[in-house]
């Protein structure tokens, strides 16, 4: 397949502003977007900068904007996204660019840390000698949210994150639900408190962008609605 990659390039040591550069490539019909980037780096311009590692849609390194929508470049086939023989590749939005397609994710991780992203078992009760018993159905339901790879695609697509730097964002909120919904966790109240102020769940306008772009089927919008439900139950003194 002949395809032209138009890439938003930016070298902070040389460029005042980002600018597009074009690379005509010849690629296999089944090639993914990342194959094109690798080919450019290997044979046209080895300064082209982007992150990639697993190349199997699990490490979360390679999310970018491809033809105006967030994708994992390692698992997105060119044939799915090419328009008029061209693919436009840009870094994720809502995060500062370091160089070319690599963004600084520190604010994303700050929000990840803010929701206490770890299980907090009840210290007053002794842990079981073996495993906590849990229904498989319940574990699989939570794993849908636990399956998030923290690639940042949702964060880039979110119109609220675009305008409010303090908004926790879809990934952190989905993570919060993963723990708030876990029967082994004892910190549900604290978590609901963290996510239910103005930087949290009530900011979400249910635009569903995050759910649409998520490459792993996490459905952050659904998680946010569940958190709202739990928060309301808590306000009304119902068991949560």
């Amino acid at each position: 397949m002949r395809v032209t990659f138009r890439i938003l390039r930016y070298d902070p040591e040389r460029d005042a502003n980002p600018h597009f550069e074009s690379y005509p490539l010849e690629l296999d019909d089944r090639a993914v977007v990342l194959d094109g980037l690798v080919q450019i780096k290997d044979f046209a311009d080895s300064a082209l900068t982007f992150r990639r590692s697993c190349r199997q849609a699990i490490c979360g390194s390679c999310a970018m904007r491809v033809n105006d929508r967030e994708h994992l470049t390692c698992s997105t086939q060119l044939s799915e996204v090419v328009r008029d023989g061209t693919v436009v590749v840009e870094p994720l939005a809502n995060l500062p660019v370091i160089k070319d397609l690599a963004v600084d994710m520190e604010q994303f991780w700050r929000k990840y840390r803010a929701i206490m992203p770890f299980l907090i078992p009840d210290r007053a009760k002794p842990a079981p000698e073996k495993e906590y018993r849990m229904a498989n159905k319940e574990a699989r339901h939570l794993q849908q949210f636990g399956g998030c790879i923290q690639c940042g695609a949702c964060y880039s697509s979110c119109p609220i994150a675009a305008t409010d730097e303090e908004y926790l964002g879809p990934a952190a909120l989905a993570k919060a639900y993963r723990f708030a919904g876990d029967p082994r966790d004892s910190a549900r109240r604290e978590r609901l408190k963290i996510v239910s102020d103005e930087r949290g769940i009530w900011r979400c306008h249910t635009v569903f962008n995050c759910t649409e772009v998520c490459p792993k089927g996490v459905e952050p919008t659904y998680a946010i609605q569940q958190l709202k439900k739990l928060t309301i139950r808590r306000r009304f003194g119902l068991p949560v």
Binding site: S46, A57, C59, G60, K99, A102, F118, K130, E131
Partner: protein, 558 residues
């Protein structure tokens, strides 16, 4: 100069388990340095599960026996014993820390079948077990507030008088090199799969940096000739489909539609150990019963519901990378490089010959896997020996004064990287990387002839020369991935040489090392570990004894 008591290099499962352990111990200053954000580590790609004797009818002794037999008897049985004994408690620890394991009907952990095991003993999270464990462990380091230097690339260890004093690392974001002083360093840098670039299940980042750094610092690498080839990898990009596919009942078929494993491991069928299944596939393909250079993995009879509950990743990967939906069609697969049985030689506390230097996880050779690792034993290995290294390092640093090392190491690394940037010549790093991968795949693969191995040794030495004329084109400081790529290729060529030289020297077939000129195992001469030391003109090989406690070597049949 930055200072910590213990610096852990790498934030995969081995490194994070070490960090959590030290995070729980009082009075020790610990930091992780990792070239990737921890959650990007390759451990996250592990699919099938983790072994432990959890069921009432299972015993750790049986797990140990299966592991020793799987290793073709060249594992150290004291280490295997420790791993298998401690496995159940480790899996329960992970469950308590939050991992959402699949469950049986009674709410206990579900268990699946895996290759080379006498009975089902693999706990799992669908087929994204590594992802689930990596996230759990990272969460636990966040809970403990462990300091992480993210996207710092360790270029060299600082070792004086056979004692570790710290390391030098490149902060990729700024392009600045730093010397970090440490009383103890735990290497947890993972495997070297990219030595087989183009033909490996491993990530771009699996470049064996830690093994190469330890080797340069005078630590021997053990058993590097034992390279695992996994039987079910995709042709297009080498991505793995988990052994769990066969554990759940999947078939391997040749072009005649036969379940050909009945000829090779009749009692275990598709669940033979990986070395034997990979050899069987190559024989089928070479004798004309392959399908376009592959055999077929068929899971259609498991049905869509089970595939979606237990093997959703297989479906996703097959559809993305092979254009095949395994609910309706069998998937073409072939053997691909997967795992390093060899690595930095350690004892069962991660201790190396250099004082204060530890290694754990895939970069280490304890040795629990010998000549062939059993599936689902590696995640276990990373956790058990990550923790044990940390515990040992904790005691060690109590009695060590803060290290005083000269800053000449920093100067040396600055000179080295400047020279790489200043190189002139027409060679290309990408080209050399591709050639190395092909050479190793073609000549250091499942079956090996002396001519092939000799070819690999010469070709790799030639590439080591050529890389000196391969300039780093990106001259910038900030986020220079061209420079890190150049550092990685030098590490990989070093390891490729050790693998090839070790293989040529070992005149027998054992586990994953299978020679056409010496088709049998030779316990009289070769029941020993290879120890490769860095010498002037290449590796200098010595050999060390194997620890045998409970199980005497027997013929390996399944």
């Amino acid at each position: 100069m930055l200072r910590h008591d213990v610096v852990i290099v790498g934030a995969g499962l081995a490194g994070l388990r070490a960090a959590v352990t030290l995070g729980d111990l009082p009075g020790v200053d610990v930091a992780i340095i990792s070239k990737l954000h921890p959650l990007r580590s390759h451990s996250g790609a592990a699919e099938g599960g983790i072994n432990a004797a959890l069921t009432p009818d299972d015993r750790w002794e049986d797990h140990m026996y299966d592991t020793v037999k799987g290793s073709d008897y060249v594992s150290d049985q004291d280490a295997v014993e420790v791993m298998c004994r401690e496995a159940p408690a480790e899996v329960y620890w992970l469950e308590h820390a939050g991992t959402l394991f699949n469950r049986a009907d009674d709410g206990t952990l579900a268990i699946r079948n895996f290759g080379g095991a006498g009975r089902p003993r693999t706990a799992f999270v669908a087929d994204i077990t590594g992802h689930a464990l990596l996230h759990t462990l990272y969460e636990q380091t966040v809970a403990r507030g462990v300091k992480v230097y993210e996207e710092w690339f360790v270029t060299e260890l600082v070792v004086e008088n056979e004692q570790v004093k710290g390391l030098v690392a490149l902060d990729v974001m700024t392009g600045e090199l730093h010397q970090v002083a440490a009383k103890a360093v735990i290497m947890a840098t993972g495997g070297y799969g990219r030595v087989y670039h183009g033909r490996t299940t491993n990530a771009w980042s699996s470049t064996g940096d830690g093994m190469a750094a330890a080797y340069r610092a005078g630590v021997p690498l053990a058993d590097m000739e034992f390279v695992q080839f996994h039987p079910t990898t995709l042709k297009s990009n080498g991505v793995l489909l988990t052994e769990g596919n066969r554990g759940e009942g999947g078939y391997l078929l040749n072009s005649l539609g036969e379940r050909f494993m009945s000829k090779y491991t009749p009692t275990k069928m598709e669940l033979g150990p990986r070395d034997m299944v990979s050899r069987a596939e190559i024989i089928e393909i070479n004798e004309g019963r392959g399908v376009d250079g592959c055999v077929l993995l068929d899971i259609r009879h498991l049905g869509e519901a089970k595939i979606m509950e237990r093997l959703p990743g297989t479906r996703e990967l097959s559809m993305h990378f092979a254009g095949v939906d395994p609910v309706y069609e069998p998937i073409p697969v072939r053997p691909g490089q997967h795992y390093a049985m060899g690595g930095v030689r350690t004892d069962l506390n991660g201790v190396t010959v250099v004082k204060g230097l530890y290694a754990a996880g895939e970069c280490a050779c304890v040795s629990v896997h010998g000549a062939n690792r059993l599936g689902a034993n590696s995640l276990l290995d990373t956790l058990i020996f990550g923790r044990r290294s940390a515990e040992h390092a904790y005691e060690y640093v109590k009695n060590v004064p803060p290290p005083e090392a000269s800053e000449s190491y920093l100067q040396r690394e600055e000179d080295r990287t400047r020279a790489m940037l200043g190189r002139e010549g027409t060679e290309s790093i990408a080209q050399i990387r591709n050639e190395m991968g092909l050479e190793m795949a073609d000549n250091m693969g499942v079956f090996r002839t002396p001519e092939q191995m000799q070819h690999a040794v010469s070709a790799i030495r030639e590439l080591k020369e050529r890389v000196k004329d391969a300039p780093v084109q990106d001259k910038g400081r900030i986020f220079n991935t061209d420079l890190t790529g150049a550092l990685e290729i030098e590490n990989m060529l070093e390891l490729a040489e050790v693998i090839s030289v070790g293989a040529l020297a070992r005149t027998e077939s054992r586990g994953a090392h299978s020679r056409l000129d010496f088709p049998d195992r030779d316990d009289v001469n070769w029941l020993k570990h290879t120890l490769a030391f860095r010498g002037e003109g290449g590796p200098r090989l010595e050999y060390g004894p194997v620890t045998i406690t409970r199980f005497q070597p027997e013929e390996r049949k399944y």
